[in-house]
């Protein structure tokens, strides 16, 4: 052996991008598609969160009158969904692909269907349906109407027209598309276990990348996290959030709300929050998230109102 380190360029053939044969090609294809359609392509938010909706590019940007079109992958943490790598469909860490289009364009459904075609879903071969599914996040003081999109009976995307965020009417309304990347890829690649997904076209599987993480993190989430520390962390995040709000720094406050929300999820996974306490913790997280959104909206409102005379916060 001349070299112990193989480089992709020297050893592997250069393959055409194929979203039906690699997880990362699917993501890159979506990036290309939405980039060509005017979206800002962002990188994931650098915090642990339960859903792409928590990304400030979704929540905070859904507020106010300014147009905003963005697409990004967001890793999502659902500690209670961990299965130690033993369930082919459930993960405590997975990816969502988020697209946010504000105001919602009149051809948003057609754009979405074109994006499915781009990654290899042919709607004349597969039964695509828009099935009623409304969305509500009491934590964010947010709700919207829309659908879950079915592909041969499988939910592949959550499609929502945001009506309220942080307790404020969305003016204008944003359309949010959330693709479940792993299940979509499993469908397109025709595999029954998420760990069998081809991550790239060079023999690396999803399991190669994430199986060990799932095993360790499931153990950490369910068995190891020090609950006394978690309770302290929750309170610290809560206190910091209030501090930032009091000092008019809503983005920093909002990050603390995200943190508190994740800590709460970990406490749930550790099974130390009773049914009665659960509601109270959720209320506390809600107050933080809404407080941050409110502060953000209040802070920005004069600027927005000046630029958009037809707009008002309330």
């Amino acid at each position: 052996m001349e070299s112990e380190v193989k480089t992709a360029s020297s050893e592997s053939p250069v393959l055409q991008r194929d979203p039906t044969r690699s997880f990362q090609d699917m993501i890159l294809t979506l990036h290309d598609f939405w980039s060509a359609n005017g979206c800002v392509i962002l990188q994931p938010y650098d915090m642990r969160m339960g859903a792409g909706t928590f990304h400030t590019a979704t929540t905070l940007r859904a507020l106010g009158p300014e147009p905003w079109n963005a697409a990004f992958v967001q890793p999502c943490r659902r500690p209670t969904d961990g299965r130690y790598g033993e369930n082919p469909n459930r993960l405590q860490h997975y990816y969502q692909y988020q697209v946010i289009l504000k105001p919602s364009p009149s051809d948003i459904q057609e754009l979405y269907l074109d994006s499915l075609k781009a990654i290899g879903v042919d709607p004349l071969k597969h039964d695509i349906r828009f099935v009623e599914d409304d969305w509500e996040s009491p934590t964010l003081g947010a709700w919207g109407l829309g659908w879950e999109v079915w592909c041969d009976g499988m939910e592949v995307t959550q499609f929502t027209y945001f009506q309220q965020m942080g307790g404020f009417d969305c003016k204008p309304v944003a359309g949010e598309l959330t693709y479940g990347l792993e299940r979509l890829a499993m469908y397109i690649q025709g595999v029954d276990s998420v760990y069998d997904l081809a991550f790239n076209q060079h023999g690396v599987s999803y399991g190669d990348v994430f199986l060990e993480n799932e095993k360790q993190m499931s153990k950490a989430n369910f068995e190891v996290f020090d609950t006394d520390l978690l309770f302290k962390k929750f309170e610290m995040a809560e206190a910091e959030c209030r501090n930032q709000i009091a000092n008019d720094v809503p983005i920093a406050a909002y990050e603390e709300a995200i943190e508190a929300s994740h800590i709460f999820n970990l406490l749930q996974a550790r099974g130390v929050i009773s049914v009665q306490e659960r509601a109270s913790y959720m209320g506390r997280v809600r107050d933080l998230a809404r407080g941050s959104c409110e502060k953000y909206a209040e802070l920005k409102a004069p600027e927005w109102a000046e630029k958009y005379p037809e707009w008002s916060l309330l």
């Binding site: 009149s106 041969d152 009976g153």
Partner: protein, 765 residues
């Protein structure tokens, strides 16, 4: 005469809202046409309303093209009236003063105006009507969207509204509504058709859409699904499990429905068939199939919205999704069985039944006591131990994974798990069926242990909730109290149970209070700070030794000065006990303050009984007539008496006796008569009535004692001839006061005798 087509195209309308939307569209269209004065022309047969997920369509046939000209006259003030009045009249009618006519009315010169309303083009009326229909359209949930939504005042619709077709006899009715311009084009199937398609008129609309792979008539789509699913099952040698709700839902999810049959792995049939059916139906909207022997088959039927290039691909995708769902179901099924029901039941301590009544575990405790008592008293001929065991486990499945996922399976899953555990079949059946009857027409339990648990559960819910929230009001019944009462009545009647509501009330309230006192004492003792001691525990033990009832103990502890009232509620709030002990006392208090509500409860039952019996043809006034006697809290006995009474009052004897009774009662009421007990030698007609009463009274009393109500009625029947003769032969209002008094006395005796059987004054007619 002209035909009108309206299509409102939108993004996918939820299936469950489409029926209501069709009704709304028809209602608003009629409203607008009525307002325009052409409502009468729109007969119901001339109006068609269709829906698909992506459009609402209305066709009105035979509209006029123009409304008729109308000439209206209006009378104004008299000539010479103040200018103000005349100007006001002109303004109101939109005419100049010069245009007024002067006519003579009753000798006075008076202003008149004649308003000519020319006929209006119906196309103009429709153009005005369409935006109004869209504006006033009511959806269960609606939303804003797009650029316009920068204002909160923008149009709200179920999902974005994207197009309007408005054609009157093929001509576009020009409308601009909320930024959408009407036209004659629409879109066909989302995938089988591309671009816009032109519609020439109402007659060709459905045909044009069919060419674009859209079946616009929702009933036709439903028929395709119904028939297609049936045939697909038959072709596979199976029988479709019919589900009309699913037919309608799938018709609301498709424009071009294609039912397709698929198979799932046989192994999944190990889990209870109800869970498979529910997963398939609720999560995936699939039909399921049976073998000829009625067992569930490993097949499903999905309804695709495309004429798929290769249906097998679509079926296989759906199969995988169902398999993942069924794996979850099997996972829950197996996981739940890792604990016994008794272990699951401990989790009920974490579930609140009602904030003022404590947890479901508390409820289970009460139900277990009551179920046992029902058997021990011989009211239900079941084994008390089995009844108690079943009651203790009957709610355990509420904390299982499976019921968490599918709440509809409560009871059923508990029954399965109990059977798997090897518990006696009486117990597993009772757990399974104790919610029955769920509504009218549902099976009523007859197995004794099931009857005991079912009855105890419903009695507890009804009486406990009555204590803290009172009866349901209006049409609302948030705690299903009316349904519980009807379930109790049906179960008692079906099984001919003899049950005193008062006795149940006493037992339930006493044990509920006692349970909470026990919990309070235990919490105090368990509290680490108390080192096993509890003032309350000691207080309770002392009073128990005195023979005090739980209610007395509670009253003396909380409000030694007097009974329980709002003042003592504040006292409870101030009790310095541990939080848990305090909560327990508070719950006990909630029962305590309602300990005198028996009479209200029985009235509530009487009302439910009337509603229930109305359908069976039993007269509500007869139920009142028996209830009015008071003291009756056994509903089966009461009903037997009502039945006998109804049979009697419908005979000739009964009708005449009722007439005689009313005559006697009226006389006595007018006189405000009180018995004088005078001595007097009666005339023959009086003597006959006295003799008849002497014979009938003991007979009726004995019969009532023996609950032979038919015999009691026939004893009354024997009074009919004598009372008729009495009224014929005897003048009550005799001149001699003592004769008159004696006769009134006799009438009073007659009235009272009748009264002992039923309060005839309540009977109508």
């Amino acid at each position: 005469m002209a035909d009108f087509l309206l299509e409102l195209r939108s993004e996918e309308i939820p299936a469950r809202m489409q029926k209501g939307a069709r009704g709304e569209l028809e209602k608003l269209f009629r409203r607008e046409m009525d307002a325009a004065g052409i409502g009468a022309g729109v007969a119901s047969g001339d109006l068609t309303v269709w829906s698909t997920p992506r459009r609402l369509a209305l066709i009105a046939r035979g509209l006029p093209t123009e409304t008729e000209a109308v000439r209206e006259e209006a009378k104004g003030p008299p000539v010479g009236a103040p200018d103000q009045a005349v100007d006001g009249f002109c303004r109101k009618n939109g005419v100049d003063r010069d245009a007024l006519e002067v006519r003579e009315v009753k000798g006075r010169e008076t202003y008149f105006t004649v308003i000519e309303k020319p006929g209006q083009a119906v196309t103009d009326l429709l153009a005005a009507a369409i935006p109004a229909i869209i504006r006033d359209f009511s959806w269960p949930k609606s939303m804003r969207w797009g650029d316009a939504s920068i204002s909160s005042e923008s149009l709200k619709w179920v999902r974005p509204l994207s197009g309007i077709i408005a054609l009157l006899d093929g001509e576009v009715v020009p409308v601009v509504a909320y930024g959408i311009v009407s036209g004659n084009v629409t879109r066909g199937h989302r995938f089988h058709s591309s671009g816009e398609i032109a519609i020439s008129g109402a007659e060709t609309y459905a045909g044009n859409l069919r060419e674009a792979s859209v079946i616009v008539d929702h009933e036709e789509r439903a028929a395709i699904i119904r028939e297609g699913a049936r045939k697909a099952a038959e072709a596979a040698g199976l029988k479709l499990v019919e589900d009309e709700g699913l037919v309608v839902e799938n018709a609301g999810l498709t424009e071009w429905p294609e039912p397709l049959l698929g198979r799932f792995e046989d192994d999944f049939l190990d889990v209870p068939p109800e869970t498979i059916q529910l997963t398939a139906r609720v999560n995936q909207k699939y039909f399921v199939c049976e073998y000829a022997d009625g067992n569930l088959a490993n097949a499903f039927i999905c309804t695709a919205n495309i004429d798929a290039a290769d249906p097998a691909v679509v079926v296989d995708g759906n199969r995988k999704v169902l398999a993942a769902r069924l794996s979850d179901a099997r996972f829950f099924w197996e996981l739940d069985q890792k604990k016994t029901l008794a272990e699951h039941a401990k989790g009920l301590e974490r579930i609140t039944f009602h904030e003022k009544l404590g947890t479901v575990a508390d409820k289970v405790e009460r139900v277990a006591k009551l179920a046992r008592w029902l058997c021990e008293e011989g009211i239900v001929k079941g084994d008390p131990d089995l009844a108690e065991q079943a009651a203790r486990l009957c709610k355990a499945d509420l904390v299982t994974e499976m019921v968490g996922e599918f709440p509809e399976l409560q009871g059923l899953m508990g029954g399965y798990y109990a059977a798997k555990e090897g518990l006696p079949v009486e117990v597993s059946d009772a757990i399974r069926d104790h919610y029955k009857p769920v509504g009218q027409g549902d099976d009523v339990p007859t197995a004794p242990v099931t009857v005991a648990v079912s009855l105890a559960d419903k009695l507890d819910s009804l009486l406990s909730l009555y204590a803290v929230v009172g009866p349901p009001t209006g049409s609302k019944d948030p705690f299903a109290q009316r349904r519980s009462a009807l379930g109790i009545l049906a179960t008692e009647q079906q099984n001919n149970l003899r049950l005193s509501i008062n006795a149940v009330f006493d037992l339930l309230f006493t044990s509920a209070i006692d349970l909470q006192l026990e919990k309070a004492a235990r919490s105090e003792q368990d509290s680490p700070a108390n080192e096993g001691k509890s003032t309350f525990h000691d207080f309770r033990e002392k009073r128990r030794a005195d023979g005090s009832s739980p209610l007395e103990i509670l009253v003396d502890f909380v409000a030694p000065e007097g009974g329980l009232d709002r003042e003592s509620e504040r006292l409870v709030a101030k009790l310095r006990m541990s939080k848990r002990a305090h909560e327990a006392i508070q719950i006990g208090f909630n029962y305590g303050v309602s300990a005198d509500k028996q009479a209200d409860i029985i009235d509530f039952f009487a009302d439910r009984l009337k509603v229930q019996q109305r359908e069976a043809g039993v007269r509500h006034d007869l139920i009142d007539a028996v209830f009015a006697l008071g003291g009756e809290d056994d509903l089966v006995r009461l009903l037997a008496r009502v039945h006998a009474l109804q049979a009697f009052v419908e005979t000739e004897d009964g009708t005449n006796l009722l007439a005689g009774y009313k005559r006697a009662a009226n006389i006595l009421k007018k006189e405000e008569w009180e018995s004088k007990d005078v001595s007097y030698s009666p005339e023959p007609a009086e003597k006959a009535l006295i003799d008849a009463l002497d014979a009938a009274e003991p007979k009726a009393a004995t019969a009532i004692e023996a609950e032979d109500f038919a015999a009691a009625m026939s004893a009354l029947a024997s009074l009919r001839a004598p009372i008729d003769r009495f009224f014929e032969d005897v003048i009550v209002n005799a001149d001699e006061p003592h004769v008159r008094a004696a006769r009134l006395d006799l009438l009073a005796r007659f009235r009272d005798a009748v009264h002992r059987v039923a309060d005839f004054s309540r009977i109508e007619g």
